[in-house]
Each structure stands twice: as C-alpha cells, then as structure tokens.
Subunit: 370 residues, 2 copies
C-alpha cells in the first residue's frame, strides 16, 4: 500500500493530488434525504458498486438500509469482510469457481443472486449443494434495459419454477432494475419508463400467483428513478447507489418532486501543474483519475474554466478571458462525469468538512471486478 | 490483496474473469521489433505509464532500453522499488510534498523531470538542496500537442538559463513529445506533424547553442511516430510505450514502413454471463474492466460479434445471424480501446502462451497517480 493522500486534520490545500474527495456535509445530507424520501414505504438496499466501501455501507445500514447490493462476487466478499450481513449480488454469476465462492460466502452472510438462465440455476444449486449453503435467487426480468434478464411473463414463471424445484435455493422474487431509465433527462421520460417497467413486473407477478408460486419481493430502481418505482406500488425494495455522491451526468438530469435533489459530494481534487498560455491551464488529473465514459469532468465553482480534453495524466482546461486565472500549484475540484468507475480508480476517500480532512476511508472493493 | 485471477499452468479457459491477459509470444515479438526498428540509432527509454510493471521494465532494459519514463512521482517510486535505476518523469511535478519525494528518490536512482515554468524550477532547486540530491531537468517544449510545455525558441532558452543557474539541477536537454500526433490516422499526417516538431526542436537547440548552453539530449516520441523522430535527426532518445501491447485505437492507425507492425498482445478475457436473446450476449467486463475513452473494445477473432455498449460491469454484444453463437460461460478476448488506462484497472497481468498461464506479473504502479 502506497502512502495515503492525506492525513487527518490537514487543510484541503495540503491534500496530495489527484485525490478522491468527499464533502461530508453534502454526503450526509444525501444519506438523510434518501431516508426521508423513501419514508419507510419500501425497503432500501443501497448499491455498493457505487462506493465499494464498508464504512459507507455501515452508515447506510445505520440509517435503515436492510443491506447492500453488489455486482460481483469479489465485491460481495469485500462487503461481508467489512461486516455487512446481507448482500444481494444484483447480477448473474457464471462459472464454477465463482459460484463456489458465492456459495461459501452464503455460509457467512445472507446472500442473494440473480439468474436469467435455467442452466445457471442448476449450476447455482450444485454449488450450494457442494458447500452446504443456501442462496436467495431472484429471477432477473428485463423491464426495458435490454441487458440481462428474461422477458416478462411466461419466461419468469418458467425460471421461477426451476428455482423453486432446487433444494438449496430459495426463490426470493424478481430483480427488475431499469438501468437505461436512470439517465433519461426529463422527469416525464423516466416516469414513463418506470410505468412500463411496473406493468412488466405486475404481469410477471400475476403469472407466479396464478401458478401458486409466492413472490416474496420485487427489487430494483436507482437514484434517478426510485420514487417512481415506489409510487407504482409494484416494488418492495429499491437499490439506489449514486445518490450519495452524484456526478456530472446525473447533474444533467431534470430533478423535481417526487425525487429529492441530491447534492454533489464527490470530487476529484487536482493541482494546476502547468500554465502554458493565458487561455490554457493543465491539471494533474487525467483518464486514470476520472472516468470519461459519461462525459468530461466539470470544474466546480470556477466560472470561465472548462475541461476540454483528458489524456492519461492531464486535464486540459480552457481559461476564459474574464475567468479568475488559475495559478500554478492551485488546487481545484472537479465533478467526475460518472461516479462509479471514477471511485474504482482510487484506494481511499478523503472526507473533508469545513476545509479540513476529517476521514480517510479505504475503498476495499476497488478493483473487485471478479 | 485479493485472490489472483489465475495460477501458473492453468488453461486459458480456467482463468477467472475479467482478467488482463498478455499473449506472451506477441508481446515478445513487439519487444524485439522495437529493438530492430530503432537499430541503435538513438537511445530507447520505454514509457512505463503503459505497463506500470517492474518486470516488464526489466525486460525492456534487458533488450537495450536505457531506463524508463514515468508520468508521476508515485509511478517512479514503484519503478525504483522494482530495481529500475534510471527514470525520467516525463512530466511537470508541482507542489512541495511531491517535490520532496522526487528529490529523495534521486538519492537512490538517476531521476529526471520536466519543467515549463521558472517558479517550478526554483521549487525543484529548493527541494534538491533540502534533500542533498541532484535532478536532471529537461525543458518541456510544446511541439504541437498543446498541453504542457513552453513555446519553442526564446522561451526554451530563458528556462534553460534558469536551470543552468541552479546548483542542484543538471540541465539535461529538451522533452519534445508530440502526444497528439500519435493517433493521427495516416502515415502522411504523422510524418508531417513530426517534421514540424523537429523544426521546433532544431530552432530551440540553435538558440541554446548560440547562447553557449550545451543541450545534452532531446527526448520524445511515442509508438505511433518514433521512426519519424529518428529520421528527423533532431532526437537522441525515444519514449515508446504502447508498442508492447497495442489497442483498438492504435489499430485504427495506418502502419507502414518505416514503422514496424506491432501485434495485439493485450486482451481483456471476459465470460459470457447472459444470453437473453438470439441477437444479444452479455459479457462480465464493463467500464471497470476496459477503458472506453478511445472507443469501445473489439471482440477478438469472433466475426459477427460486436460490442455495442458498456455499463459498469457489463459489455453488451450484438450477435449477427451468421455468427457462431457465443455460449453461456464461454470466454472471449476483447481488445481494449486504449491500453494505458485499461492496465490501470488491474492488479496483475496474466501471461499466456500456447493456451496456458505462464506468468503472473504484479502491476505495482496500478493507481500510482500521485
């Protein structure tokens, strides 16, 4: 482990850069706003793929979350090692070695997983039988994301029957996450997408009921849509992740009632490393410091400065004539384009409050993509 | 450290995924081709920002490289810890804490750094005086990349004079890397860009000579252009990095004499985790497994399969009607869009030859962005 980017009590301008900074006041407001917005109407299972950090998971659970979601077995292993007792791998897990690890993990914590294939269900059963473990298995339904998942309706019933027939698996319900809906820009588009998802969920549940199969739970939803899933009445549990941090891409969404307005709390702190011309400044945070899959980072609260391109270790800024000129060595905050893959580039969060470093949290599941 | 993705001797289809795989035959051919192409005409200082791995650096040095380039102090620290005795930080380093680390490192190895600002040169001198160290300092010249660096000519002379006047700094020459030229698609465009860079270098060297300042070395060039820098006669040292691996974006370049044709040796091994429809397959390697800043990954040697989008942990493939259908659990190789930031997502390389795992190399400088 290389040296930490900061030490407790340090001023923000003393933090080594690039650093992944969390403004703790904003972060804590976001946690509270989610609790208030859900208001106990459904269960909250926060998504740990965003933060990959057991400390943050523990804080979410302290505020009422029933546990976390993960996307990978290794991510779930990191969360269980960090004391989280209830983890849903909200994804398919394929391959004997991974399934053996998943089953072993289910001996130490309540573990759920998704399935969209009968052969995979048989492999899950075999892994659990070998480990003497039991897994919660959700049928993933494609409610519009066009990624994984079976089609709503008859295919859901067929796969649920497979699971119900397995001695070591518990049929836990439906995973119905509409990822593509999260970044539809207008509230109206997102509401309409989730209404269609809810129709698909209700149809699938009706098939299960008609066949006498109990559907204990429908889980899904993200930060950009969860209020619509709750209002639909078709969901029992929501899986928001990004609300704790936000990012430039979520910032481009329309936010209005019934969704709360979350604050930007996650930043990349960067240093001005070159001022080659009056209209150009270069920061020390490039593609290895900020993910650009959803667009370039934004400069925080410095009018007239804009990121124009990133290379591996550089961010080139344009400096407008009227802008306060950035000075060599000055530190600026960037809002990452997409929070989740940006977090995955770092080993620590530097938590700041009132201009000082208050916390250093390890990102235990950084790189946990297995 | 979490478990390794593979063990020695394992078959490729047993490697846990996503994994960063190096096809060792192709990798070794690339190393040889660079040595042959340069043919001793200039020094080779390979760029370690691509691989971040001391084992690879040692192999490059065994084939004649004089040392490596790094972009960050923490990357240089990792290379020196791995036994590399000559490192050029081909970048500006700003801030007292970083400069103190750089100066301390210069007590253990030959260390160079770039500068494009007189105040930064003064800070370098102060850091070296405090540590009792000496640094090689290169003036970075903007030869067309429009990133860092002073303008060619008078500004180079002025900054070189600053360096020459510092007791603890050695003026080592010019850093003249044209990053933007590397991905100009046609040979003609790249040749023309490097011809312009060479003019800028010659003009700057002439100014230094006229002022009686010796310019020991001009260093620069990348995998996409190095033969042009050599042919220009204006460069003493080249800094290729990506040639060892290649990527989808370099693959879109025109490659012809005098540049050798390098082979794709770096891959992301991924598993088919879902087959929801006949025309769609989903792999377990998303944005946290393959950087998309330079475009989506390509599917290797599987006609009719194409990556259509990535999310955090998924790669959605289109499956053409005539394609051999990918089977759930099957492992496919992806060519990453951009090698450097993809490497930075992993802790290990899995070296394979003839279908078996032959090597596991730690990526010591993964995340070394400080």
């Amino acid at each position: 482990m290389r040296q930490l980017p900061a030490s407790l009590g340090m001023r923000v301008d003393e933090i080594d850069t690039p650093a992944l900074v969390v403004e703790l006041d904003a972060f804590e407001r976001n946690l509270q706003r989610m609790t208030q917005a859900v208001a106990g109407r459904v269960r909250v299972r926060t998504h740990a793929k965003t933060h990959k950090c057991a400390e943050i998971a523990r804080r979410q659970i302290a505020l009422g979350a029933v546990g976390v979601c993960c996307q990978k077995v290794s991510e779930a292993e990191a969360m269980v090692a960090g004391g989280i007792g209830d983890v849903l791998v909200s994804n398919e897990v394929v391959g004997a070695a991974k399934l053996a690890r998943l089953a072993t993990l289910a001996l130490r914590a309540r573990i759920g997983v998704c399935a969209d294939d009968a052969g995979n269900v048989a492999a899950l059963e075999a892994a659990c039988a070998a480990a003497g473990a039991r897994l919660d298995v959700y049928v993933e339904v494609d409610v519009g994301a066009k990624r994984c998942g079976v089609a709503p309706g008859a295919a859901v019933l067929a796969l649920a029957r497979c699971i119900v027939g397995c001695r070591h698996l518990r049929f836990a319900g439906l995973q119905a996450y509409h990822g593509a809906a999260q970044h539809l820009r207008s509230m109206a588009e997102r509401r309409a997408a989730i209404e269609r998802a809810a129709v698909a969920v209700r149809d699938s549940k009706a098939r299960l009921e008609a066949a006498g199969i109990d559907c204990p739970r429908v889980t899904g939803a993200g930060s950009g849509s969860f209020a619509f899933e709750i209002e639909s009445g078709a969901f029992d549990e929501v899986q928001p992740g990004s609300y704790i941090f936000m990012d430039a891409d979520y910032g481009r969404n329309e936010w209005a009632e019934p969704l709360p307005r979350f604050d930007q709390s996650l930043f990349v702190l960067a240093t001005v490393m070159s001022r080659p011309t009056a209209d150009r400044a270069v920061l020390d945070a490039g593609l290895k410091a900020s993910s650009v899959d959803s667009g370039l980072p934004l400069v925080w609260q410095r009018p007239g400065l804009a990121c124009v391109r990133l290379s591996d270790e550089h961010c080139v800024l344009s400096v407008a004539p009227e802008a306060a000129a950035p000075v060599l060595g000055e530190k600026l905050l960037l809002v990452p384009g997409h929070c989740d893959p940006t977090v995955n580039l770092y080993d620590h969060y530097v938590g700041i409050r009132a201009g000082r470093v208050e916390a250093l949290w390890p990102i235990e599941a950084r790189g946990a993509i297995y």
